[in-house]
């Protein structure tokens, strides 16, 4: 439709303008007695100070103090256990020369008592330290300890091939916290971006003769992060057309010392205004997890791993993720029960070795795991965020519940966490040394 050909006569326009102004400015006030009007909002905006210049610095970090209480498992002595923690995290991203920068992140945790499974109270983690070069507009090169992350699922990421040996310090069961606190692996990584897609290749050498995690407070822990030679190729094609906005695909090929090549696939899709779906899969020949953990010879078989699900977000910003994971290399429910009871290959030592192997590899303990994750920013009040997690192992019916309320300000966060596990004492999720965990933490950003 076109605008009118003849503008309003000036007098009439003036009269209408006055009426419109009255209607416009007064509408809110007449509709809601005492409610602020548009004029009030504009006056408020008038008083908004000019933006301050953003701090020009290349580092950031936080310090966090936490105290809590837990119920100690009967096999660990029983009773209640108080705990305190002080953590310091620092990140640096600074220019070295034109086109080159240095990226580093580290974390120091002081725990009383020491974290479960650890002997030392202090644990320093060099999470990453690498030089990054922008070779040209389309190619980058990274050399050093890098946190290379792959995968699109929330909790279990079978394509995240560098998750093994990355958990040096565990401050929370929250999968996002685990990803933030992990240590990287030493590698040479290159990315090449083009209209056709993105190609990533990397090589990560074995750096330690002793491929075991170290508890030494200031160890570089290369025995955990670089326990074997690895090489990875990842290709993310640009699908073009309408698919570009709806589907993201990444294919991976991993070669590692002592194992047949593994293939991987990451898919993430937009299903509508409020829903995204994801699936990640790996497959290749390998021994079973139990044989790898116990170091027993075994014929290799093709073992697929899959993690898939979707995330739905409500109009009030509550996001719920349902994730179903499956791992054919893990023991069946029957084999898992045998391991727990000492039948067959099972023994207390075998059980312990297997649990340690699974924990270090961040693998599923048994073939299946179901999980629900929820996130609700500004849940009941502004700046009050709610996060929750429920994990269920359908093979032994054990469960893990986790809940966090976090009130955040510009510089400070206060968080209350609760964690509860259920199941038999040797079950996947019920075997935790500490249960009924409460933790209150205060974090200061700087």
């Amino acid at each position: 439709m076109r605008p009118p050909r003849n503008p309003l006569p000036p007098l009439r326009a003036l009269l209408l303008a006055a009426l419109a102004a009255l209607a416009g400015w007064g509408s809110a006030a007449t509709a809601q007695a005492g409610a602020p009007s548009d004029l009030d909002a504009l006056q408020l905006a008038d008083r908004t100070p000019a933006p301050a210049a953003a701090p020009a610095r290349d580092w950031q970090g936080h310090v966090e103090a936490a105290a809590g209480q837990a119920r100690r498992a009967t096999w660990a002595g029983g009773g209640t256990l108080g705990s305190q923690r002080l953590s310091l995290a620092l990140q640096l991203d600074t220019a070295l020369a034109p086109g080159w920068r240095f990226v580093a992140a580290n974390r120091l945790d002081l725990d009383w008592p020491a974290q479960p499974g650890k002997e030392k109270h202090a644990l320093h983690t060099l999470q990453e330290a690498y030089a990054s070069g922008q070779i040209d507009a389309a190619q980058t090169l990274d050399l050093g300890r890098v946190r290379a992350h792959f995968g699109v699922a929330t909790g279990y990421n079978p394509t995240d091939v560098f998750r093994g040996g990355s958990l040096r310090s565990q401050a929370s069961a929250d999968p996002n916290s685990l990803k933030r606190n992990r240590q990287g692996a030493v590698m040479l990584r290159s990315r090449h971006l083009s209209e056709a897609g993105a190609l990533t290749w990397l090589v990560s050498p074995r750096l330690s003769a002793d491929s075991q995690p170290s508890d030494a407070p200031f160890s570089l822990d290369t025995g955990a992060s670089n326990a074997r030679h690895r090489a990875l190729l990842a290709w993310s094609p640009n699908l073009g057309g309408a698919w570009t906005e709806r589907l993201n695909v990444q294919t991976l090929l991993l070669a590692q010392e002592g194992q047949a090549p593994q293939a991987g696939l990451n898919l993430s899709a937009l299903l509508g205004e409020a829903t995204t779906a994801f699936a990640e899969w790996t497959g290749g020949h390998s021994r079973s997890q139990l044989a790898q953990a116990l170091g027993t010879p075994q014929e290799t078989h093709f073992h697929p791993r899959l993690s898939s699900g979707f995330t739905w977000t409500s109009s009030r910003r509550l996001s719920v993720t349902l994730e179903i994971a499956h791992n054919r290399a893990a023991p069946t429910a029957t084999a898992w029960q045998a391991l727990q009871t000492g039948a067959g290959l099972g023994s207390p030592l075998a059980y312990t070795l297997y649990r340690q192997w699974v924990s270090n590899a961040q693998e599923l303990t048994t073939r299946r795991l179901w999980a629900v994750y929820a996130s609700w920013p500004d849940a009941w009040a502004q700046h009050l965020d709610l996060s929750a997690m429920l994990r269920v192992n359908p093979d032994d019916h054990s469960r893990l519940h986790w809940l966090e309320l976090r009130q955040h300000g510009e510089r400070f966060d206060v968080a209350l966490q609760w964690q509860h596990t259920s199941g038999t004492p040797l079950s996947d999720l019920g075997a935790a040394a500490r249960s009924g965990v409460w933790q209150l933490s205060l974090r200061r950003w700087f």
Binding site: M1, P51, G197, A198
Partner: protein, 271 residues
């Protein structure tokens, strides 16, 4: 649980290629001339061109949020935007500058392809359009938005309104109906200055007609070659005491390589 839960943010998009070919400059005077009268869609395109440069650019968006007259939040974002020659919409890369807890986090907007990247975990997460990470501001409020690409405009009336600076302005009132799924709002009432094509005020409505927000575009300054609004005041439709002030500064024309505007580049992005 989602690492993006702790965030806020913004968004808006930009301009038409070949806009100069449209008869937009003399629109106001053309309104009185039957032969040169522009279409409502051309008016909308012209107002888009006023708000958004038609070349890659960067700016800083500082959001200040008020509840009942009290400041409750603030957020600073560095935004780079570039028109997508194939898909039409602007693609934007948003980096959180402040507060400290969010500094360094990134969001990529490419139509409905939305990604969040947290450098602390090195993980990028696909978001749905409803999974907005800001408070009152929607994605469409923050990133560069080309309304004329996403809406069909209908001329409603010529009205005199009081603009964001409390001055009377003669305007074309346009009614915009969304024509694409990724439109941030299904229905918009937009007041465009009859003399300059400057967008002065907008009312964003739900499909039901319920008022969601009112926005005033103001503090006009010469930026990147022409007069542009350097502030948007957003007033909530249900709670008029909920006000967000978005100030734009540090405008700069800059190269934005296509390589930056894809998920795989997010871990490498360093402005």
């Amino acid at each position: 649980m989602n690492s993006s839960s702790c965030i806020l943010t913004t968004h808006r998009r930009t301009v038409l290629r070949g806009l100069a070919a449209l008869p937009v400059l003399p629109l106001a005077t053309a309104a009185s001339s039957a032969s040169a009268a522009p279409s409502a869609q051309a008016l909308l395109a012209a107002s888009d061109a006023v708000r958004n440069p038609d070349f890659p650019f960067g700016l800083t968006n500082t959001l200040t949020e008020y509840r009942n007259g009290q400041q409750t939040d603030s957020l600073t974002l560095a935004i780079v935007a570039k028109a997508d020659p194939e898909r039409g919409p602007f693609r934007s890369l948003v980096r959180f500058v402040a507060p400290a807890r969010d500094a360094g986090k990134l969001m990529l907007y490419a139509g409905r392809d939305l990604w969040f990247f947290d450098p602390a975990s090195q993980a990028s997460i696909r978001l749905s359009p409803q999974q907005r990470l800001l408070g009152q501001a929607s994605n469409g409020d923050v990133v560069t938005v080309n309304l004329s690409r996403e809406h069909r405009a209908e001329w409603v009336a010529e009205e005199q309104i009081t603009d964001g600076e409390r001055r009377p302005r003669r305007c074309h009132k346009l009614r915009l109906q969304a024509t694409v799924d990724e439109a941030s709002y299904p229905l918009i009432e937009l007041w465009v200055d009859a003399a300059t094509n400057q967008p002065l005020k907008a009312r964003y409505l739900a499909a039901s007609g319920q008022l969601l927000k009112t926005a005033y575009f103001r503090r006009w300054q010469r930026q990147l070659g022409q007069e542009r609004p350097t502030e948007t005041v957003i007033i909530d439709g249900l709670d008029p005491g909920w006000v967000t002030v978005m100030r734009y500064s540090d405008w700069v024309q800059r190269e934005v390589p296509d390589a930056w505007l894809q998920r795989e580049y997010l871990p490498q992005f360093k402005p």
